[in-house]
């Protein structure tokens, strides 16, 4: 709280680096979840 975060500025985009990092990590995690093999993925019913 005593040391405010640095901000990323690009056109109308104004976002703190910590928030930008979290969103970036979420996008990476989502992409990994789409392609990473799931254990026992072929044992389903249908």
């Amino acid at each position: 709280m005593d040391t405010p975060a640095q901000y990323f500025d690009w056109s109308f985009i104004h976002i703190s680096y910590p928030n930008l990092l979290v969103i970036g990590l979420m996008l990476v995690l989502f992409a990994v979840a789409l392609v990473a093999p799931f254990p026992h993925g072929g044992d389903g019913d249908v």
């Binding site: 990994v32 979840a33 990473a36 026992h40 389903g44």
Partner: protein, 209 residues
């Protein structure tokens, strides 16, 4: 009136038959899932529920012990941090779950109400987190309250939702809103289990629209 006729008129019997029809135990507690559920994308919702459980458990401990404990003692700060970070994980994985359901159009084939309840859970969770930030009992919560009051007054709800009233914010945060979120999450899960996981778009009968 025979005993059988009397039983047919019983509302408990009708409710039991309705529950058996809408949510059989095989659906409520399945031991196998369709093949398309074999993806990490489907894990996001479960992680969100796990995070919510930690939020509730750590929140109950904090409410028992009080602000002096969660600010001044090392164990209190640990539980304070546990509460904060489990909330962060709750929101991160709820949004990832939202992205996944958006791109697979999770509202298809009679699941619109499930989607809409999810939207309400998201909104209620934001309100719960906001009242939580206001309940910290430190300069951060005072700063947030002083600034937020103008937004509430501009929206015309300041008289009913007074962010400067700690008792109101704390009461909402530890009682009404968590009960609301937990109840809606239970309804959300039951609705998912009643209809099953949505099929992939355009495959095996899944509708493209």
């Amino acid at each position: 009136m025979s005993e059988l006729d009397a039983a047919e008129g019983s509302w408990t019997l009708r409710v039991r038959r309705w529950v058996d029809r809408v949510l059989p135990m095989d659906n409520l507690l399945p031991h196998r899932q369709p093949y398309y559920v074999g993806s990490w994308v489907y894990v996001f919702g479960v992680i969100t529920i796990a995070a919510l459980a930690w939020v509730v458990v750590s929140g109950v401990v904090l409410s028992f012990m009080g602000p002096q404990w969660w600010h001044a003692s090392s164990l209190g700060r640990f539980f304070n941090s546990l509460h904060f970070w489990s909330v962060q994980l709750f929101f991160i994985f709820m949004v990832l779950h939202l992205w996944g359901q958006y791109f697979m159009a999770g509202w298809r084939d009679g699941r619109a109400a499930t989607w809409m309840i999810g939207v309400v859970i998201f909104g209620t969770s934001i309100l719960t987190a906001f009242t939580g930030y206001l309940s910290q009992q430190n300069f951060d919560s005072q700063f947030i309250a002083i600034n937020a009051k103008d937004a509430m007054n501009a929206g015309g709800i300041g008289a009913f939702f007074n962010v400067l009233n700690f008792g109101q914010m704390y009461g909402l945060h530890v009682m009404l809103l968590p009960i609301g979120v937990t109840f809606l999450v239970v309804v959300h899960i039951v609705m998912v289990r009643a209809r099953g996981v949505v099929k992939p778009i355009g495959r095996e009968g899944g509708s493209p629209s």
